[in-house]
Symmetry: C2
Subunit: 141 residues, 2 copies
C-alpha cells in the first residue's frame, strides 16, 4: 500500500496551500468572514484609493471574481465602494471601522500560521524556498 509513486510537485504545492488556508480559517473562526483576508490587507494598504481593477491585478484573479470578493466583504460589513470623482467608472475601496479594528488580529493570525508552518526551518531554508519558488514562477509565465 505504500509503494506508490509520490505526488507530482503541483499536488504537493496545492495541498500545502489548502492546509495553510484551513489553519488560518481555524484561527479566525470567530470572525464574520472566513476568506478574502489577503484582499482585505491589500485594501488597507490602498488607503481607500485602490480600485477593483488594481485589486484584480494584485490578486491575479479576474474582475468577476473581484466583484464577488467585494460583494462578500461588503455584505459582511468590512468594505465600502466609493465612487471616484475623477473617474466615475472606478470604485475606490475603503475599509469600515469594523475591518480596521479586526485587521491587526487577522495579520497576526496570518503571521502565526506561516511561522508555525516554517517551524524547524532555518532563515536560510526560508530564503532559498522563496528564491526557488520565484524561479519556478517565472519559468511558468
Amino acid at each position: 500500500m505504500e509503494n506508490y509513486s509520490k505526488p507530482p510537485i503541483g499536488r504537493y504545492l496545492s495541498g500545502i496551500s489548502k492546509s495553510l488556508l484551513h489553519a488560518l480559517q481555524n484561527r479566525l473562526i470567530h470572525l464574520d468572514i472566513d476568506r478574502n483576508f489577503y484582499a482585505l490587507m491589500l485594501i488597507e494598504e490602498g488607503q481607500g484609493k485602490i480600485t477593483q481593477q488594481e485589486l484584480s491585478d494584485l490578486l491575479e484573479s479576474d474582475k468577476v471574481s473581484v466583484v464577488r470578493i467585494i460583494d462578500y466583504l461588503s455584505n459582511k460589513g468590512y468594505v465600502e465602494r466609493v465612487k471616484e470623482p475623477t473617474d466615475r467608472r472606478k470604485h475606490g475601496l475603503a475599509l469600515t471601522e469594523k475591518a480596521k479594528i479586526e485587521l491587526p488580529e487577522i495579520k497576526q493570525a496570518m503571521e502565526d500560521v506561516i511561522q508555525a508552518a516554517f517551524s524547524g526551518l532555518t532563515a536560510k531554508n526560508i530564503t532559498e524556498l522563496y528564491n526557488t519558488l520565484s524561479v519556478i514562477k517565472k519559468n511558468l509565465i
Copy 2:
C-alpha cells in the same frame, strides 16, 4: 502601484500549482481527458487492484470526489470498475487499452512540464525545495 506587500506563501504555492496544471493541460489538449492525470497514473500502478478507498487515501481527497473522478475517467473510456470477488463492497480499478496506450505520453508530458518549471535550478535547489516542503507539510498536520 508596485508598493503593495507580497502575497502570503499560500497564495504563492497555489498560483504555481495552477500554472503547472494549466501547462500540463495545454500539452495534453488533444486527449479526451483534461484532468485526473495523476489519478490515472496511480490506477496504472495499482495493476487493477487498487480500490477507490485506496485512491482516496493516495489523492488525499474524500470518497465523493473519487467517485466523481472515476465516473469521469470511466465515461471517457479510460478506466473500468471491477467488483472484487473477495470483498464485494470494493471495486478494483483497471485501465482500458486506450488508457494504456496514452499513459506514456501523459507521463512524459508531466515530466517535461516539471522539468521546464525547474529550469535554472540546480539539483541541490530542487532537493532542498522538496525537503523544505516536506517539513512544512508535516508542520501543518
